[in-house]
Amino acid sequence: MKAAIIASSVISPQQTYNSDGFPPELIETIADHLVCVEPDYRNLLNPIQLRRMPRILKMGLACSQTCINRADGISPDAIIVGTGLGCLDNLEKFLLEVLISNEHVTSVLPFINSTHNAVAAHVAMLLKNHNYNITYCHRCFSFESALQDALLQMEEKKAKNILVGGIDECTNDFMKLHGYLGYWKDPQSNLKLLSGKSSGTIAGEGSAFFMLSGEAGEGENRVLLDGVHTFFTPQKADTAEILEEIDWLLQKSGSRLDEIDGVMLGVNGDYRFTELYDDLQKNCFSDNTEFLYYKHLCGEYYTSSAFALWLGCVVLRNRHIPDALRLNGKSGHAINNLLIYNHFRNKEHSLILLRYGQF
């Protein structure tokens, strides 16, 4: 099953909200984490509701609303969201209050807005949409699970147009706790993420929404989502094993490895986890394959592949690869078949296959 991506919207640490193209200038941040550039929500959301919303909810609602507007106001038959950690900031507030109040009275709002499914639920309430509504919280598989569910819903003819989102936020406590585990680099420039050999990466956050359609206008080239595949802790974790998984996905979508002319890798600057990416880049694809990367723009977070999908759509649709995305020096052709490969600390591996063409 495939789906056309007919609209998208993203809020990220770059200036990506106002237009659906690659930002003309990149934001350089010297830090151990990247923070989203957020729009002025007062122009987008009801001020009375706005004051109660945590930041992640505002990001999700603004982003989903823009995506729907770009899809000419289509009312989705399903709303599916992936989030690794949900409304983390409010969850932390709520748990802290429980602790401080010795498990007595706590504030209402952090509790109401602390659940993982708050974003998908609020999107539905805003749209007065009573259709299928679900949130996947599977760490680094969260967004991929949402995409897989969307494709299955279409395959079973349960939905024609589906709003799919991936969203996560970065909080101080999250940074601190994962810092103890050696997840982060010392503050450095995000645009030099891959320079030098050091452990850790730069954290990030973002919200990305897509309108997928099981039908699309004939005779019109579109970005097509042609398949999604996930696999957990591969035994050998070598390129042969990864290639087997790639082959499985390609066979399922009726294509071959030599047709892939672009690969977007989730390389994140942590030397402990770059070997697979390096081997794939050097040994597994044809010489003309363009290799791209994206985490220097959005940072590492559980649903960063949603940002990668958005970038993939931009690259395919615009028929142009911005220099800032290139991992290798190729400069020729526009990409038609793009494979996004990401893994999180060698545990959750995911593949997303995109095509540019007719439905």
């Binding site: 004051r51 209402v108 109401i112």
Partner: protein, 87 residues
Amino acid sequence: MEDLIKQLKQDIIEALSLEDVVADDFDADTPLFVEGLGLDSIDALELILLMERKYGVKIEDPKERRNVLRNVRAMAECIVNHRNTNG
């Protein structure tokens, strides 16, 4: 009493994240709910919590809650009465 009213107004703005409201936008007799500040039942829960946590006033009776939360002056009077009663 006037100092308490001033403080309460600030507390309400902070507790309810009324970003576009300043203390001078409403007076002590402005209705808090529906008209006036336009607060709702979720805000009422936050105000009950504010009264309990910051001022030590626990209001159990729903009818009394409705009466106390009608405006800032009523809230201030309730706090003063509570202080007088409990020393």
